[in-house]
């Protein structure tokens, strides 16, 4: 590998996207803490730059050419073979865009924050930059580094700005942190094992492409073990049953922006990692574990949906629903089929936008009424129609109404997965019914029904508060009406990366073994 950085066209696009929130963060560090308005504006500006750049990247990406684009590679820790390698393809670019959409919205969802504003936005921007970094990294080490960076800011944000309801915020924060860190310990062991196996012939590397290219160095037994370690790590991150219990408690305890980012993008790192690392690098391990994972995923879907049915706190409903929805993503990944993987990525995008919108709306309701208890609320649509609109849009997206991007994603998953995993998929589809029940239940009980005079003093969301609603709802419908904008990109990512061939060889090997 040459010592000089390899440069492609627009190689600085991604570094700038990544640095914009960090620059804004540094500016905020030097602002006096009384200037809350300026702090919020600077944070919003930083995220706006990132968002604009990632939208540009989204449309400038050459779908015909496919593969990693806007790449930048700088040797970083030569003795370990770590490269500061950035780049996006059809799998990571939607995730990057999602991160920035939600990051930008989360700044506006925290617009009314008045407690320790300066520290709040510093941590929030670090968090967003960290998540963004994981999706644009092409190097496993850098990927992991960015992922772990976000864990501690989240903890501090939960314990300071969180809310104590069913569990205290200290408990929620610590539970979330420890679950994710213990999961990442296993991930780290799997990662080092993979790294050492790949370096067996010399020339150590952490680059995803290189790791995937050295297939013949990984024996089937090794792949099974390494994949098992990774499924513990990524499985806890994507809140797969039985590693899911941090998720509802964590979301309920966290402040709105953290819930939005955590449910919206952070847990998608789990799914993204399973695809990027699990399927591409360890296909034999993936195909060995796929049936078990699919079973766990179905349990996630149904079990979490049942629990969501009986929740009293709105945040818990959405928290469990996100566990349930991630089950679909895992089923799609376990189907090991290019179309299903496309659906999985689309589902992660769709769920991210929906969950962020949902948490933003719940955040506003909580801010205004100081309660999230479904039984204490009712008829809010009379007083806060705009808020109710956002809430209903999020709900409809959540239950996969045609016209929303979620429908497209779920539909793709089901068509692709039913051929491979018929029983699991049918059971999974049954989950939609429960989703409809719990979503319609909270919409009906919170937003509709007779007008309640105790909420007459509420003011509807306006001004900056409308940004999350407008932006995220626009994306939900745009993706639902013109799915090809999104699906075309993801498809090119799946096809140009040679996933089809990888899966082909694996399935042949499996058939050979079975008969």
């Amino acid at each position: 590998m040459s010592a000089l950085p390899t440069v492609s066209s627009l190689s600085m696009l991604l570094p700038f996207t990544l640095l914009a929130p960090l620059v804004a963060m540094l500016l905020i560090v030097f602002l006096p803490k009384e200037e809350t308005k300026t702090i919020k504006l600077v944070a919003a500006m930083g995220m706006f730059v990132s968002l604009a750049l990632s939208i540009y990247a989204f449309f400038a990406y050459n779908i015909e050419q496919g593969g990693m684009q806007f790449t930048l590679t700088i040797p970083w820790i030569p003795d370990l073979g770590v490269n500061l390698a950035l780049g996006v393809d059809g799998l990571s670019l939607p995730m990057l865009l999602l991160t920035n959409l939600i990051g930008f919205s989360s700044i506006y969802a925290s617009w009314n924050m008045d407690k320790r504003v300066k520290e709040y936005f510093i941590l929030l921007l670090i968090l967003i930059a960290g998540v963004m970094g994981t999706f644009i990294a092409r190097d496993l080490f850098i990927f992991f580094l960015f992922y772990e960076i976000v864990v501690i800011p989240i903890y501090i944000m939960v314990i300071i700005w969180g809310s104590s309801k069913r569990v205290t915020k200290e408990y929620a924060g610590m539970k979330l942190t420890i679950y994710l860190l213990i999961g990442s310990a296993f991930l780290l062991v799997g990662m080092i094992a993979l790294y050492l196996a790949a370096a067996a012939g010399g020339n150590p590397t952490f680059m995803f492409e290189e790791l995937a290219a050295r297939q013949d160095l990984y024996s089937p037994a090794f792949q099974k073990v390494a994949f098992a370690l990774m499924i513990i790590g990524f499985g806890s991150l994507i809140s797969m049953f039985p590693f899911h219990s941090w998720s509802p408690d964590g979301y309920a305890g966290a402040p709105t922006a953290v819930s939005m980012i955590h449910a919206g993008v952070l847990k998608k790192i789990g799914g993204y990692g399973l695809i990027r690392l699990g399927i591409y690098v360890l296909p034999v391990g993936a195909s060995f574990w796929a049936p078990y994972i699919a079973t766990l995923a179905v349990i996630s879907v149904l079990y979490a949906a049942f629990i969501a049915l009986v929740q009293k706190d709105m945040k818990y409903v959405v928290g469990y629903s996100s566990v349930s929805h991630m089950g679909y993503v895992i089923i799609a990944i376990a189907a090991l089929n290019p179309t299903a993987v496309t659906g999985a990525v689309a589902m992660m995008f769709a769920h991210g936008v929906m969950a962020a919108l949902f948490f933003a709306m719940i955040g506003f309701i909580y801010e205004k009424t100081h309660t999230r208890n479904i039984s204490e609320l009712g008829g809010l649509a009379h007083q806060v129609p705009r808020l109710a609109t956002g809430f209903v849009i999020a709900g409809m997206a959540s239950l996969g109404l045609p016209g929303t991007v979620n429908f497209v994603a779920e539909f793709t998953i089901f068509i692709a997965a039913i051929k491979v995993l018929p029983v699991h998929t049918v059971l999974g589809i049954a989950g939609i019914i429960f989703t409809a029940v719990y979503i319609l239940r909270i919409i009906a009980n919170v937003m509709f029904g007779p007008r309640r005079s105790e909420w007459d003093h509420l003011t509807d969301i306006r001004g900056p508060e409308l940004v999350p609603l407008v932006l995220l709802a626009f994306v939900i419908f745009l993706g639902g009406m013109f799915p090809n904008i999104l699906m075309g990109l993801i498809d090119s990512g799946v096809n140009s990366s040679g996933l089809a061939e990888v899966l082909e060889t694996v399935s042949q090997a499996k058939i050979g073994g079975l008969f």
Binding site: D79, F144, T177
Partner: protein
């Protein structure tokens, strides 16, 4: 070897030794009121020696002399750098604290330097008696330093405890050395290795166990760790810092050399490796678990440093070039991470007269710099990226997995994530609690420099570990030649 002058090679040791004497003399000659310059004098001496040693590391002549009694290789110089850096940071962060001590405070710096000298001898020792002399020089200086708060019962108690237990451990170590001498007729490591060969006799087994136990005491490995929390708690906080960081690193320097040169010969390897694995695993597990319920910051850091010693042992178990490199890398960043935490603890202890974690409440508001430095230091100890601790653990555990010890790596990583729990509980107190009624304690001067400097090093090495990794590699390589 290129021709060299023994005085140039030994210059750091000579300067430190004479400075220790000079400080003692100044303290006796200069009247009590005008001894303000002791701290700057020590600090500048250390800075000078540190710069020379840094130059020496890269360009100085390397030699083994006095028939292999003393070694001046990059490995030894690397550890000298580490001790000098730790001593410098302790001196810089202890100014106000020592100022409050009794009139005998001039001896503090003198003893600190003599302890440093002992460590430097340990790092360079090529035979067991020199090693033992260095070890005793260090330990005896520490006996006095630990009991330095003469009016404080806890400090005196700690001093006595350290004296008794330290004496016992020295006896065990000496017994091990005498057994080895009886077996081989030599105390030189190279000769021992070649003479021992492949015969595993009961005597060689016993010698291994005794040597490891004696050194394990200094490193505070489980089950030889019981002294550490009590003594760390009772000793003056800067002394605790020096004890936890530098004395431990010095014992590691000896352990690495002894283990690689002698124990890795066939006779010792089986016993040694099995013992090390048991010690390392129990140290990592118990150190971290017992740290969880601690309410005193010094006890917490004591248990955390026990656990950290367990991680360092992992690199020695690997026994490979990469493993030793990992140990050296981690030992260096451990200095800075722990020094940051101890500097904050010293600051709080000095201003609030308390070591309780609950008295860190609201530190975020009362002293933002201290709170941020403490957080960064603790998270680096926990191994959270982008701080240096992550890179260090990565080197260590990659090396040990490369040798096929996957279970150790899993235990290590899981336990280090468990450690996040108690580190974060300190962070929680600092950031979440309001700390009403506690005073504002801003940091100034040398203390602020120490804190910010350690944090910057921790962050910079974490983001770009290459330079330090190269130094550690060169040092480890010199050991394998």
């Amino acid at each position: 070897m290129v021709d060299f002058n023994i005085t140039t090679v030994l210059m750091p040791e000579v300067v430190i030794a004479s400075m220790s004497m000079i400080l003692l003399a100044i303290g006796l000659l200069v009247p009590y009121g005008s001894r303000k310059s002791m701290m700057p004098l020590t600090a500048f001496t250390l800075i000078g020696v540190l710069s020379y040693t840094l130059y020496d590391f890269f360009y100085g002549p390397k030699a083994t002399f006095l028939d292999g009694m003393y070694m001046h290789d990059q490995f030894a110089v690397y550890f000298k750098l580490l001790f000098l850096a730790a001593a410098l940071l302790v001196v810089l962060s202890s100014g106000d604290y020592v100022q409050k001590l009794a009139e005998h405070r001039y001896k503090f710096y003198s003893l600190l330097l003599s302890a440093t000298l002992g460590m430097m001898l340990m790092a360079g020792a090529g035979e067991l008696i020199t090693m033992y002399v260095g070890l005793e020089l260090m330990t005896i200086s520490f006996y006095i330093l630990v009991a330095y708060l003469a009016n404080d019962a806890r400090s005196s108690e700690a001093g006595i405890k350290y004296l008794v237990l330290g004496g016992a451990s020295s006896a065990i170590l000496l017994y091990g050395i005498s057994l080895i001498y009886g077996l081989t007729g030599s105390t030189e490591l190279f000769v021992i290795a070649s003479k021992l060969g492949g015969n595993l006799t009961p005597a060689s087994f016993l010698a291994t166990v005794f040597l490891l136990a004696g050194l394990g005491f200094k490193i505070s490995l489980v089950p030889f760790h019981l002294w550490a929390p009590d003594i760390y708690e009772g000793a003056p906080t800067p002394v605790t810092a020096f004890l936890a960081i530098a004395s431990k690193a010095a014992a590691f320097a000896v352990l690495i050399r002894v283990y690689l040169l002698t124990m890795n010969s066939q006779a010792f390897s089986i016993t040694g490796e099995t013992l090390l694995i048991v010690l390392a695993v129990s140290t990592m597990i118990l150190g971290n678990l017992i740290a969880i319920p601690q309410t005193n910051i010094k006890r917490l850091l004591a248990y955390s440093s026990i656990a950290q010693a367990g991680y360092l042992m992992v690199g020695i178990i690997a026994g490979s070039l990469a493993g030793i490199k990992g140990v050296l890398f981690y030992a260096m960043i451990y200095v800075f991470a722990n020094m940051g935490a101890f500097a904050v603890a010293t600051h709080v202890a000095e201003r609030q007269d308390s070591d309780q974690i609950k008295d860190f409440a609201g530190l975020w508001r009362r002293s933002p710099v201290a709170a941020v430095v403490m957080t960064a230091s603790l998270l680096s100890l926990a191994g959270i990226p982008p701080l240096a601790g992550f890179a260090g653990k990565f080197y260590l555990f990659t090396a040990v997995m490369d040798q096929g010890f996957i279970a150790i790596a899993i235990i290590g990583f899981v336990m280090s994530m468990v450690s996040v729990y108690y580190y974060l509980s300190v962070v929680k107190v600092m950031f979440l609690a309001e700390g009403e009624g506690l005073p504002d304690i801003p940091v100034h001067g040398a203390m602020k420099f120490t804190m910010v400097f350690t944090m910057l090093i921790t962050l910079v090495i974490g983001l770009y570990p290459t330079p330090l990794a190269q130094m550690a590699f060169a040092a480890a390589e010199s050991l394998f030649k």
